[in-house]
Amino acid sequence: MRSDDVFNLTLRALALTVIGGFLALTWFLWKSAMPALHVAGVAFVWRTEWDPVLGEFGALPFLWGTLVSSLLALLMSAPVSIGAALFLTDIAPRGIRAPIAFLIEMLAAIPSVVYGIWGIFVLAPFVREYVHPLLNGHLGFLPLFDGPPFGLGMLTAAMVLAVMITPTITAVCREVFRSVPDPLREAATGLGATRWETIRLAVLKTSISGIFGAMILGLGRALGETMAVTMVIGNRPDISISLFKPAATMASVIANEYAEAQGDAHLSALAAIGLVLLLVSSIVNIGARWIIKHTESKTHV
């Protein structure tokens, strides 16, 4: 009896340590961010000036960069991921399902910095030489495609991000499609539906909120992604609608400037950006998990 009490006490102590550690993480970030927030107040979040030399610190360019690059990545990745998941659950011959699923999972295993170096030396030149002439040459009058042919910028960052979040969205979508009961598919087929009609009516219609949850989870992954984005986005704290102009994200500015930050005000402003990033990604992740959990329990009944 007594040895069990000791065991349970140990586990409880460990749990308290981990929970305490997470609280400490938040508190230390808050403490490091305090000087910057003290100077600017809540306005820190919507100020657009970022100039460490002049001591001007506003987070809006980075919030913009993070949001736009992540949403663009989601826009590119969602159709591919949903298609890949459908392929794996409903279309592919059984023999090739596992190998293809394995290959997609391997995409998630490639380290971020490796995507970054590939982005700099392969994807950025590709964007500069093919994508920019195509979009800017024909549609350059639109502010969206107006911009210099650097190769490094918002679009390239979003493309790398899209590749990186595809395994996450595919894996969750696959689980969601798998949890659709087979009798539903059989009923549709039995009524004479073609394969696509079965997928549309039996699988996709019942999975809408699950797909939504998968996309939000992918978005959460994209928001915090650091290295690959830092290496290809160009790192300029500008707010622009153009896909070809350099930009910066919350994660990229911290990665880029923290180790060489000049003075306490700069360090504190970067910590404040980290705090905002922590807040945003936590909310998005909790939301995604809630949606996914909610749909799972619904389809199983």
Partner: protein, 283 residues
Amino acid sequence: MSEGLPRVQRRRHFKSVMANAIIAILAGFAILPLILVFSYIARAGLPALNLDFFYKLPAPAGELGGGMANAIAGSLLMVVMSGLMAIPPGLLCGLYVAEFPNQKLALALRFVIDLLTGVPSIVIGLFAYAVLVVPMGGFNAWAGSAALAIIMLPVVSRTTEEILRLIPGQLREAGLALGLPRWKVLLRLIIRAGRSAIATGVFLAIARASGETAPLLFTSFNNQYWTKSLSEPVASLPVQIYTYAISPYEEWHRLAWAGSLVLVSVVFAINLLSRLLLKRGAK
């Protein structure tokens, strides 16, 4: 009427074939990047890879040759240290959450672990900087390892939890019926029953930590030489790849590709090994 029906059916059939083809093409798009990335790394990395890479120190900027021996050693050191810090508590956290679901504290822990999984690794770096770099007066190996450990812990805990939930309750009951204390049942029977699957989770966490760059940038920083003490900055493979990739020197780009090839090979090897282990354990 009798002529219209086949036409409708033909259109439905055509639509279905088209949709299937589009889905297959989308799936192709999903794996295309893997092929593109991997083939390019192999092509650019293999010619740059030689023995020097594994046992020489980095050469000064502008000079030819040199290697990443210190970065490989540094990565190894920090991954081992972070593994020691993260794996035992990670296992126990997973065990606690899976086996004591009626305790409020276990539910709270589960929520915090879920939150930790979603914390961007760069934010974890900021925390390690505040707690271990500032008080110790400079970038050091401890801070880098601790940051990696915080990233590994939730991965280990969550896979352990998932595996333990799959182990049938009869095993617990059988152990308890034999008069074993609960801790012995859990540590000796239940963990052992799931050991190959748990090991897979541990390996995946190690693979993840080996490739992490962002939290090391301002914790362990970088070092062009061998590290003599854990309270000094230490080089690591991912940070070295980053530094070389964004440098203006052709020779350094070459080494960065060689480093990427080594890093990706190690990570893939760990992934494959852990899967084989899982298959063997399942038999």
